[in-house]
C-alpha cells in the first residue's frame, strides 16, 4: 500500500513540527520514581498516577454521597456521611442502608470492574477500541440474559446467571476462534466483531419472540440500569471483584511488557500465552460479573481506561486509575440521568451510551490524526 505509507510519513512530520503531545511516553517516564527500601526491595511509583487515582476516588465518593442524599427523601450530605459512619438517625439509617447504599455499591463495583476489564482488553489487543463491549462479550451476556427473560420468564437471579454464562461462553468462543498458534490482537478484535454481529442477530430474534412486557423488560436490561439493585446483587459482585483484583494486579507487569509485542515480551521472559490467557479470563469474568449485576452498560469499559490514560499521561491504560475512573464515570452518569430526565427516568446505560458515543467519535478523529489506531 504505497498510499498509506505516504500519508503516515506526512502525518509524522506534521506532529514533529508541533510541540510534542502531552500524552507521549517521553513526558511520563520522567515522573516515575523508584523507591528503594533497606532490604533491597524497590517499588516504582508514579506520583501523577497516584494523585489521579486519589482524585478520582474522591470524585466517586462525592458522587456517591450526592446520589445517596438525593431522591424523594432528601438527606443533607453531612447526614449521609454521618449515617455511613454509623451515627445517623433510625430513619436515615433505613433509607441509606437498605435502599440507596446497595445501588451505589453496585454502581461503584460495576464501573470499576468494567473499566478494569476494558483496560485489560485494550492492552491485550493493543488498540484503544478493543474493549469487551466492542468485541462481543456484552452481546454474549445479553443473549444469556434475554434467553432467561424471553424463553423462561426467569427471575432476576436467573437473568444474572444467564448473563454470566453467556458472557463466559462468548469469551471462550472468541478466544478459541481467534487461536491460531497464539492469539494476535487484531485477530481477536476482528473475530470478536464477527461474533458480536451474529449474537446481535440472535438478540433481535429473541426480542421478536417475546411478549411486549417481556420485550420491554429485555430492552431495559440491554440498556443497563442501576434501578432496584439491592444487597443480593452486591455480594456476588463484591466477591468476584475481591477475588479477581489480586490476580489482575499480579499480572499487571507482564501485561505492560506484552504491549511491546509478543517477540519482545518472550525475549524479556514473559510467558506470553499464559499471561494473555489469565488476563483474558480475569477480564471476561469481571465483565460478566458486572453485566450480570447491572446489564451491559455501554462504553464505560471503552472510555474509562482511555480517559484515565490521558489524565495520568502514562503510555498505556493504567489499571488502578482506570478502575477509579470507571467507578466515578458510572456514578456521575447515573446522577446526570437522574437530574436530566427527572421522573421519567432513563437508565444510566442511555447516558453512558450517548456520552461514550461522542467521546468515541472524538477518539477516532484524534487517534487517526496521530496515526495511532
Amino acid at each position: 500500500m504505497k498510499t498509506s505509507t505516504k500519508t503516515s510519513t506526512k502525518t509524522s512530520t506534521k506532529t514533529l513540527a508541533k510541540p510534542l503531545p502531552e500524552a507521549s511516553p517521553k513526558s511520563s517516564t520522567g515522573s516515575v520514581r523508584a523507591v528503594r527500601t533497606g532490604g533491597g526491595l524497590s517499588v516504582r511509583v508514579d506520583p501523577r498516577a497516584a494523585l489521579v487515582f486519589l482524585l478520582l476516588t474522591g470524585v466517586a465518593f462525592a458522587a456517591s454521597v450526592v446520589l445517596i442524599g438525593s431522591g424523594d427523601f432528601r438527606i443533607a450530605p453531612g447526614d449521609v456521611v454521618a449515617t455511613l459512619l454509623g451515627n445517623g438517625t433510625a430513619a436515615h439509617e433505613f433509607v441509606v442502608q437498605e435502599l440507596r447504599l446497595p445501588r451505589i455499591l453496585v454502581g461503584l463495583l460495576v464501573g470499576a470492574s468494567l473499566a478494569l476489564s476494558g483496560s485489560i482488553f485494550q492492552s491485550l489487543s493493543r488498540n484503544p477500541l478493543g474493549s469487551p463491549d466492542v468485541i462481543g462479550f456484552g452481546q454474549g451476556a445479553a443473549v444469556g440474559a434475554l434467553g432467561a427473560i424471553v424463553l423462561f420468564q426467569g427471575t432476576a437471579l436467573a437473568v444474572a446467571g444467564g448473563a454470566l454464562v453467556g458472557g463466559l461462553v462468548t469469551g471462550v468462543a472468541v478466544y478459541l476462534l481467534a487461536w491460531k498458534r497464539g492469539v494476535h490482537g487484531y485477530r481477536l478484535v476482528l473475530v470478536g466483531i464477527g461474533v458480536a454481529a451474529v449474537l446481535t442477530a440472535v438478540n433481535h430474534y429473541l426480542l421478536t419472540k417475546a411478549s411486549l412486557v417481556d420485550a420491554t423488560r429485555a430492552v431495559l436490561w440491554m440498556t443497563g440500569s442501576l434501578d432496584g439493585r439491592d444487597w443480593t446483587q452486591v455480594w456476588p459482585l463484591l466477591a468476584a471483584f475481591v477475588l479477581l483484583v489480586p490476580v489482575v494486579a499480579w499480572y499487571a507487569r507482564p501485561l505492560r511488557v506484552l504491549e511491546m509485542g509478543d517477540d519482545a515480551a518472550y525475549a524479556l521472559g514473559v510467558p506470553v500465552e499464559r499471561a494473555r490467557l489469565v488476563m483474558m479470563a480475569a477480564g471476561v469474568l469481571l465483565m460478566a460479573a458486572a453485566t450480570a449485576a447491572a446489564g451491559p452498560i455501554a462504553f464505560v469499559a471503552l472510555s474509562a481506561p482511555q480517559l484515565a490514560r490521558r489524565l495520568t499521561r502514562s503510555p498505556g491504560p493504567g489499571l488502578a486509575a482506570s478502575a477509579a475512573m470507571g467507578a466515578a464515570l458510572l456514578l456521575v452518569a447515573d446522577w446526570v440521568a437522574a437530574v436530566a430526565f427527572g421522573d421519567r427516568q432513563l437508565p444510566v446505560g442511555v447516558v453512558t451510551a450517548v456520552l461514550g458515543g461522542c467521546y468515541l467519535l472524538w477518539l477516532l478523529v484524534t487517534e487517526r490524526r496521530a496515526g495511532r489506531i
Binding site: K180, V189, A197, H204, T208, L212, F299, G357, I373
Partner: protein
Amino acid sequence: MPDGVPAQPPVPRSRHVVRIAGLLASVVLLVLVCVASIAFGAKSMPLSDVWHGLFDSDGVGNDVIVREVRVPRTLLGLLAGAALGLAGAVMQALTRNPLAEPGLLGVNAGASAAVVSAISFLGVTSLTGYVWFAFLGAAVVSALVYVLGGSRAANPVRLALAGTAATAALYGYINAVQLLDSAALDKLRFWTVGSLASADMETIAKVAPFIGVGVVLALLLGRPLNALEMGDDTARALGANLGRTRVLSMVCVTLLCGAATAACGPIVFVGLMIPHLVRAITGPDMRWIMPYAAVLAPVLLLGADVIGRLVTRPAELQVGIVTALIGGPVFIQLVRRKRMAKL
C-alpha cells in the same frame, strides 16, 4: 484486489467462456431458488396449486397465498439481495478492504436509527416516509465511517472498528428511544430483525426505482473501480477520475443499502459473503464481479429465507438471522486466513 490473483493482461479466451457459462448457471440457480421460494412456506401445497395460483388465479384459497404473499416476498428478496450484494462489492472495492460490508460498517444501523427517530418523534408510519429517513441515515453513517476509518489509508481493523463503534452507539440510541416509547418498540422490534415477511407489492413498487438506479450505477462502476483497486497513484496515472468514482460509489452504496434496509430492516453479511464467493469464480475483474454479485446475492438471500421458513415451520426464522448465522462463520474464516495479516 488484495486477496485475489491479479489477472494476466491478455485474458485467455477459455476464461471468458467459463465466466459466461458460470453466469448462465447462476441465473438458472436463481430461477430455481425463486421457484422454491414461491413453492415452500408455512402452508405446504402441491406444485399444481402453485402453478394454478401463478398463471390461472381465481382469487381463492391457495391462489391468494401465492399471489399476495409468496410472489411479493420473492420479488422483494430478489431486489434486496441484489442491492446488498452489489453494495458489498462496491464497498469492498472502494475501501480496498475485504471485510467491508454495509452491515458491519454501520450503514444499516444508521438507516435503522433514522427510521426509529422518524417513527417515534415524527410519527411517520408509512414506508414512503421510512425510505427517505433510511437514505439519510445510511448516507450520513456511511460517510462518517468512511472518514473515521481513515478514508484512503483505511486498513481492515480500523474500518471495522469504526463501523462497530458507530453501530454500538447507534444501537444505544435506538434502545433509548424504544424504552421511552413502547408503541415504537412494538413496531420496531420486528423491523430491526431483518425480514422479508412483511413484503407487499406496494413496498416493492416504492423501493424498486431506487434499487434499479443503484444496480445500474453499480454495473457501470465496474471499470472505474478496477482502476481504483490498483492504488491511487497508478489509477491517476492511467487517467482515472478518482474523486468522481468515489462519490458515485458512495451514492450507489447509499441508494442500495438505504432502500434494502427501509424495505426489510437491517440484514448483515450478505454483502460480505457474496463478493468473496464471486471473486473465487471470476477473478478480480469488477466488470464481472458486479453481474455475478447481482445474480448470486439474491440466491443467498432467498435461499436463507426459504431455509428460515422451513426449519421452524409453522413459525419462521427471519432471514436476517439466517444470514447472520451463515455469514458469521464465513467472516471468522476470512479473518483467520493467513493473507489477512498483510492487508
